[in-house]
Point group: C2
Chain length 221, copies 2
DNA sequence: CTCGATTTTTAGATAAGTCTAAAAATTAAT
DNA sequence: ATTAATTTTTAGACTTATCTAAAAATCGAG
């Protein structure tokens, strides 16, 4: 059995490891979770003893296969619930992350598999992240960060990396949503902001450096 | 803010008080919750300090208006989630109580009100209990315990008082469900069991004393 | 009304998860 | 290779929720 806090730590490790491609360090984990490094040290010892992560003193942690399996189960639940809330309960994509933060810890394999079936085995959450299937398989998105693109590039918004309501409401205001078509018209080197055209609209929209580092694009050209 | 355990204690007090009609005592609460009397004493002191119950040493507790409001919110969430699981996710009435035991603690007024709207403001859970509305109003069921009836009485099953999967699977086996028509054919004083006819079927069904004390009937005659 | 049984409370202990402050290890810069 | 800055761990404390064992209060039979 894993407690809610253990699950939150596992998930944070999964995210900070960038899908298990690098090690995760104590201070980064503390920032992500919103706790103190000393608390993290205690928790990683515990998760390590349970065989969910491998931990070397002073050298960070990485998920074991078992830990990765657990993390993906939590991520699956989080994303399925988010989609249910948006698609069926008509909540906004800016409202659902915190609810899913609670729902992801509901412990029932049966329930989540029925929810998956009810929604006909969806592939992505409302923020464009892929949903692991019942076997824990997840196809990683093939997309690029908006901030890496050049003037003239075009594409569809495939994913947003920041699930805070502040950011998502900012996108609402700009009339930007998943699958909006984006064309990069100008890059302002002064503050690294970008002028983009959304869905062929007349007027341009300026996106800050912060924003374009949280938006992923599926390139058309 | 109320923790999950605080909420579970409040709900248990509500049930043991029979909808706030009588005081609730330490040992009964301990049995219901599955903890020890000493733990209950600690918890009722805490709930009392928060103004959710009134507590007199050695004389049991009762819910305050605030405590009753809180309890009904939890009961509302429990029953709405149960209905969602049965009606939309196609789970059996014998599978959902434990899941709802977790879901009832999800903290979001918006979410639960949307779920209510999604199901078009249902009046009863899959076990026949009334669902409090968004204002905390709940119309109590008008029905009688099957064990109180006499030979010749007829009625529809309106509610079951025991949400354990053991009991509900027993009813499944007997082909008894909510709204089944019951006619009492014979009462065996030897062991207080009852022979009943279900939905006018040819063969009779014997229900134990234990079972007929968990089934409520809306009388026809 | 009194005494024994029952119920409830108190006292003290434990486990999980967190914190602060101090010590130790690692890393980076001369 | 030292030394200074940074990172991480340890030590000790606190909170919540639980327990056992013992003390105190209440109840109920005669
Ligand atoms: Mn999310
Ligand atoms: Mn979470
Ligand atoms: Mn139930
Ligand atoms: Mn509960």
């Amino acid at each position: 059995m894993t407690s809610t806090t253990e699950e939150n730590h596992l998930k944070a490790i999964y995210y900070l490891s960038k899908d298990c491609t690098k090690r995760v360090f104590t201070n980064d984990l503390a920032d992500k979770i919103g706790s103190k490094p000393s608390s993290i040290t205690d928790m990683v010892k515990k998760l390590s003893k349970k065989g969910l992560i491998s931990y070397q003193k002073y050298k960070g942690v990485e998920l074991t296969e078992l830990g990765k399996t657990y993390s993906l189960k939590i991520i699956r639940k989080h994303r399925l619930w988010e989609l249910f809330l948006v698609k069926h309960l008509k909540l906004g994509w800016d409202e659902v992350h915190d609810m899913a933060e609670q729902l992801e810890h509901i412990d029932s394999e049966t329930l989540i598999n029925r929810l998956d079936a009810f929604m006909e085995y969806p592939s992505h959450c409302p923020h464009g992240d892929p949903i692991p299937d019942a076997n824990g398989k997840m196809r990683l998105n093939d997309n690029v960060l908006l901030s890496k693109l050049r003037v003239g590039n075009m594409g569809l918004i495939s994913c947003v990396d920041d699930n805070s309501s502040a950011f998502l409401q900012y996108l609402n205001k700009m009339n930007i949503e998943l699958n909006s078509e984006i064309r990069i018209e100008e890059i302002l080197t002064y503050d690294n902001s970008m002028q983009v055209r959304v869905n062929n609209s007349m007027d341009l929209i300026t996106l800050s450096e912060k924003a374009i580092n949280s938006i992923y694009i599926k390139l058309i050209s």
